[in-house]
C-alpha cells in the first residue's frame, strides 16, 4: 500500500456539530461516528490495498393521514454503509446498515473475498494521490425540521383535516421530516462529511363521490418554510372547483402549466429519465442507442462540433442553472453514490459545482463525472448533474395568463410522466388533480383529465408567457439515500400543447 500523507490532500468540510446538544440520543451518525467507522474498517482490513467507505445515515419522522384521520406515524433510523476494498486495483464492495464491530469486520471480509475475484489493475491508486475536488459547504440543517416531533406533526394534521372535514371533503396526505448525515472516507485519511435536514408536506383532497380531486405540496430543508395550512387551502380549493368535470376533445391547446406541472415535465430534462440528455458521459458511450437531443454525433472530450454546445436550443428567455450555495435551492455539495459510473475509487463521487446548463436559451454546459474529467479532459474536477435546478421566468402571473387566453387549458400537475423517445425528448403522461377550460379570458369549467404526448423541447420553444419562478414539490426518498433535488420553475403558457387521449381517472 502506498502511504500518502493525508493532510496534503485533505480538504474536508469544516467539522460541525450534527446533533444539537439538547437531544438525548443521536438519531444519525455524526462526523466523528463516520471517522470512527472508517478507522475501525481500516484496522479490520487484511490483504493490503486500501479501504473506503461511504455512509448515509438517516432519521425520518413522518405522519400519514387519509379520510381525515391519521392512519400512522413513524420514526425510523437507518444507515447505508458501503464498504469498498481496493487491493491493487481489484475491487469488492459490501453494504451493511449495522455499525457494530462484527458487522464491519464481516463487511470487510466479504469485500475482500469479492475483490479476489477481480483482476488487479496496477497503478489504479494513482487517482488517490490527486487532491480532493474542492466542495461547497452550504448550510442546510434546520432545527425546526429536526425537532419536529410526533405531537407537532399531529397538531398540523389535525388542522388540515378539520379544514377538509368542515366542507365534507376527504383529505389524505403525508408529512415527513428527516435528518441525514453522509460521509465518504478512506484509509488514506481523505474524508468528506455533510449533514442536512429535509421536510416535505403534500396532500390530496377528494370529494366522497370521487368526482373531484385537488393536490398541493412543497418540500424544503426547513420546515418553517412550509405553510401547511396554505397548501391545504390550495388542495381543498382545487378539489371543490374540479368537481363534475366536462369532456373536451383531445387536441392541441394553448396550455397554462402551473409551476408544479412545469417541474413534472420540464424537470425530466434535468432530474428525470431524460436527465442523461445533458450528460456527456452517457451520450458518448452510446454506440447503438439513440443519442440525446444535444449531441450531433459520436465524439468524446474536446472533440469539436459533436455536441450542440453554444447553439441556441430553446426560448431565449430561459436560463437553467444550479448552485449548491443557492439560498433558495441549496442542496448537498456531493452525493455518496456514483450511479453506475467509474468506481475504482470512492472519491470519484459526484461533487456539485455551480453550473449554468442553459444560458438565455443557449446550451452552455454538458455534465460529466470526475472519472471522465480525469480520463479525457485532464482536469481534476467533474461537472456532475445533481438534478436540482432553477429556471428563470417572467413577470406574468397565472391570473394574467388566464386573462389573455381566448381558449385554453389550465394544468395543476402531471402524473406518470414517462419518456417515449430520447432524441426528441418526447414524453407521455396524465393531467391530475385539477384541469380547467379557459374561455374568453376566464376559467369556464373543470375538464376531465387527459393524456398528453409532448416533447420538452417543443414546449421550451413554444412559450407565450412566463411567470414568476417558485419552489415546487420534488422530494427525495431519504431512507433510500437519495439526495434532495430542489427545483424552482416558473408557470408557463405554451402554444399548441398536444393532448392525445381522454382519461376517466379522477
Amino acid at each position: 500500500m502506498t502511504f500518502f500523507p493525508a493532510q496534503l490532500s485533505y480538504s474536508r468540510t469544516p467539522r460541525r456539530l450534527t446533533a444539537p446538544a439538547h437531544v438525548d440520543r443521536p438519531r444519525f451518525l455524526s462526523e466523528a461516528d463516520c471517522h470512527d467507522i472508517a478507522e475501525r474498517l481500516a484496522r479490520f482490513s487484511t490483504g493490503g490495498g486500501y479501504t473506503a467507505v461511504s455512509i448515509v445515515s438517516t432519521w425520518v419522522g413522518n405522519v400519514r393521514w387519509a379520510r381525515n384521520h391519521i392512519n400512522t406515524s413513524g420514526e425510523v433510523r437507518d444507515n447505508t454503509i458501503n464498504v469498498l476494498r481496493n487491493i491493487r486495483g481489484a475491487i469488492g464492495t459490501a453494504v451493511i446498515n449495522d455499525t457494530t464491530g462484527t458487522a464491519l469486520v464481516a463487511a470487510a471480509r466479504r469485500a475482500e473475498r469479492l475483490a479476489q475475484l477481480q483482476p488487479e489493475k496496477p497503478n489504479s491508486d494513482l487517482v488517490t494521490r490527486l487532491p480532493l475536488e474542492p466542495a461547497a459547504a452550504p448550510s442546510l440543517f434546520s432545527d425546526a425540521t429536526y425537532q419536529m416531533d410526533a405531537g407537532q406533526r399531529e397538531a398540523v394534521v389535525s388542522t388540515l383535516t378539520q379544514q377538509a372535514a368542515a366542507v365534507g371533503m376527504l383529505s389524505a396526505g403525508y408529512i415527513e421530516v428527516a435528518a441525514v448525515g453522509m460521509g465518504v472516507l478512506d484509509s488514506f485519511g481523505r474524508a468528506r462529511y455533510f449533514t442536512y435536514t429535509q421536510a416535505q408536506c403534500s396532500m390530496t383532497v377528494r370529494d366522497s363521490q370521487g368526482t373531484g380531486s385537488g393536490w398541493a405540496g412543497l418540500d424544503w430543508y426547513d420546515w418553517n418554510k412550509i405553510d401547511a395550512t396554505h397548501l391545504s387551502q390550495i388542495a381543498l380549493d382545487k378539489c371543490l372547483k374540479s368537481r363534475n368535470p366536462v369532456t373536451v376533445e383531445p387536441g392541441r391547446y394553448t396550455t397554462i402549466l402551473e409551476p408544479q406541472a412545469v417541474c413534472d415535465l420540464v424537470g425530466q430534462l434535468i432530474y428525470g429519465s431524460g436527465g442523461d440528455a445533458i450528460d456527456r458521459t452517457v451520450n458518448e458511450s452510446r454506440n447503438n442507442t439513440p443519442r440525446g437531443p444535444f449531441f450531433k454525433r459520436a465524439g468524446v472530450g474536446d472533440a469539436p462540433d459533436y455536441s450542440k454546445l453554444g447553439d441556441r436550443v430553446m426560448d431565449e428567455r430561459i436560463t437553467m442553472s444550479a448552485d449548491p450555495m443557492d439560498p433558495e435551492i441549496g442542496f448537498p455539495p456531493f452525493s455518496v453514490h456514483n450511479y453506475g459510473g467509474y468506481d475504482e475509487d470512492q472519491f470519484v463521487i459526484p461533487v456539485y459545482h455551480p453550473v449554468t446548463w442553459i444560458d438565455h436559451g443557449v446550451l452552455t454546459h454538458l455534465a460529466y463525472d470526475r472519472g471522465y474529467a480525469l480520463a479525457y479532459l485532464t482536469q481534476n474536477t467533474g461537472l456532475p448533474n445533481s438534478g436540482a435546478f432553477r429556471m428563470t421566468g417572467g413577470e406574468t402571473s397565472v391570473a394574467e395568463m388566464i386573462k389573455t387566453t381566448k381558449r385554453g387549458l389550465l394544468v395543476t400537475r402531471l402524473d406518470r410522466v414517462i419518456i417515449l423517445d430520447r432524441t426528441s425528448q418526447l414524453y407521455r403522461g396524465y393531467t391530475r388533480d385539477g384541469l380547467w377550460l379557459i374561455e374568453n379570458g376566464a376559467i369556464s369549467k373543470p375538464v376531465k383529465n387527459m393524456a398528453f404526448t409532448e416533447s420538452i423541447l417543443f414546449v421550451l420553444n413554444n412559450i407565450e408567457q412566463l411567470g414568476p419562478p417558485q419552489r415546487v414539490f420534488n422530494p427525495c426518498v431519504a431512507l433510500e439515500a437519495q439526495i434532495p433535488q430542489p427545483v424552482i420553475v416558473p408557470p408557463l403558457k405554451i402554444r399548441d400543447f398536444s393532448f392525445t387521449a381522454l382519461v376517466d381517472a379522477v
Partner: protein, 578 residues
Amino acid sequence: MKWIAGVNAPWSRRAWLTQNAVAVLVGRYATRAPLLRTTVDPTASSGASPLADVGDDDWAALARRAVDAAGQAGADYADARLTRTIQHRYPYGDPLQQETETVGIGVRALVKGYWGFAASPSGDLTEVEQLAQHAVTQAKTNARGTPRTVDITQFPRVVGTWSTPVRIDPFAVSVEEKVTFMRYWEECARRVKLYIDPMVSHIEFTRQDRMLVTSTGTQCAQRCYESGGKIVCRAPGDMSQGLQGSLDVAGIETAGRGWELFLDANIPDQIRAMPDEIQAGVALQKAGSAVTIGRYPLVCDGATMAALLGATLGIATQLDRSLGYEANAGGTSFLNDPLSMLGTFNIASPSVTVTANRTASAQLATVKWDDEGVAPPEYTLIKDGILQDFQTTCEQAAWLAPYYSKHGRDIHSNGCAAAEDALNITLQHMPNLALVSNPSSVHIEDLVSNVKNGIMVEHGMAFQVDSQVRSGLLTSNPFDTRSRLREIKNGRLGRVLAGGAILFDTLEFWRHVIAVGGAETQAVFSTSQYPWGGRWGKQFPLAMLPVKGEPPQATSHSVQAAAATIINQPLINVLRKA
C-alpha cells in the same frame, strides 16, 4: 471495453483453494443450521451484531421485550418484526459485485384505534424498549383525533417456523462456484459466436429472515428466498439490430427457489440453440411492418395476461386504495364503493375468474404467515366476472363486515399484511394472483386460429396505468428480447409490428375477454422487491416497481395467467402527437 477486462479476470488458483478450505472447515463445525442463523457460508452473514449474531431464541427475546414494553406503555395491541435481508449480486459487467446485508427491528403499536411505528437498524434489549415506547407515544398522540376502533380479536395467535422450500441453499454455494458457472456459460456463448451482454446480465440471490412476535401471542420465524437473473446473449457485429440481435436465457426469472433455478434451466443447451433463434428473430424484425391504427382483437400470451392482471385488477382490488388511504401516494381505484360493488359489480367477462393466494410453489409472495401472523387463505377476488372480495389485512377485513355477514361469511383477513422489511410499517400488499385457466385444453394456436385480423402480444408489458387504474398502455417490453407485437391474418401469425401500443381501458379490456386458454398456456410474471442495483436501484424509474405507502415501499409477488383473446381493443401509435 471494460467488460472484457472484468470477465477475463485471471483465475487465482490460490484464492480458490483458500476459500474452499475455509468453506470445508466451517462446514465441519456447522453442526446445525437453525433458522435465522447463517453458518454454512461465514461470509454470507455479518455474524455478531446485536441482531445478526443471535439465533432465533435471541431474536424472539428481543421482539418479545419490545412487545411487552409496548404493552406496559399502554398499547392495546403491539407487534415487533425483525428482519435480516441478505442480497448477493453478481453481474457480468464492471466489478460491481456486491453483497448486502441489512438488519432491522420495527415495532408497531395500537392505541384506541390509532397506530404508531418506530424502527431502527440494530438494537439491544434497552433500545428495543425505547423503540416500543416511541411507537406507543406516537399512537397515543395520534389518538387525540376522532375516536376509531380496530378489532384486535382479528389478530391471530400462531407459533412456528417456516422456510421457502429450496433444494440448494444459494448461500451455501460459494461465490467462487457461482462465478465458475457464470464463466462457463460465457464460454458456451463464445463457442457459438455469441457474447453475454455485460450491461444487463447478472445473477442474484436474496434471503430475508423474518421474525414476528405479537401481543396476541404469535411468534413465528420465516426465511424467504428469491433467486433470479438475466442473461442476454448477443450476436457481435451489427449493433444496429438492437435487441433483436439478442436473446434472453429463459427460465431464470426471479422465483422463490434456490441455486437449482440455474441448474434446472439448462443454460448451456439454451445458449447452444440461440444462434438460429436469434437469426430467425432478426429476419422477422426485418420483415416487420408499421402499425395501422384501429380496433383489433388481441391474443395475449400467458406472460402478457399475467403482467396485465398484476398491473390492473391486482392494484384495483386493494381495499386501502379503493377507500382512499393511498390517495396521496400510488392513487385510488375505480372500485370506489366496495360495499355496494361486492357481489354485484361486473368487472370482467364471465370467462374471467381471478384468485389470490400466498401458497403457490416458487412464487414470490408465498409465505406461511403474513406480517400479522395470518395464514393467508386462497380466495376468489373475481368469479365469473363479478367482484367477490378485496385484498385485506386484519384491520381492513372488518371494513367489509356488512358484506361478509350478509353472505354468511366469516370476517377474517385475507393475509395481505406485508412490509418491505422491518424498517417499513406493515401495509396491505399484493399477494400472488392467478387468472384461472380454461378447464379444457386450449392452446395459443387455437386462440390465434379463431382470429381473422388481429394482433398477438408476446411477453407484453402494461405500463403507465393511471392513478385510478382506469386505463393504461400495453406494449412490447423493451427489456425482454422475447417480447413483440405480431399481426394475425386469417388465423395465422404474421409480421412483427413496430411502434404500436394498445391503449386499454381497464374495464373495457377485461369485459371483452372472450376466451381464456388452457393450463398449457399458463405463464408466471414475477415482480421482485429487490430491483437490480439494490437500494440504489430503486431510484431508477425503469425499475417500475409497484410501490405503496409513504415513504414508498415494495414487496414481491407473482401473477400466473393463461393466454386469452380480447376483442375490440384500440391500437395506437404512441409516438404520435395530436
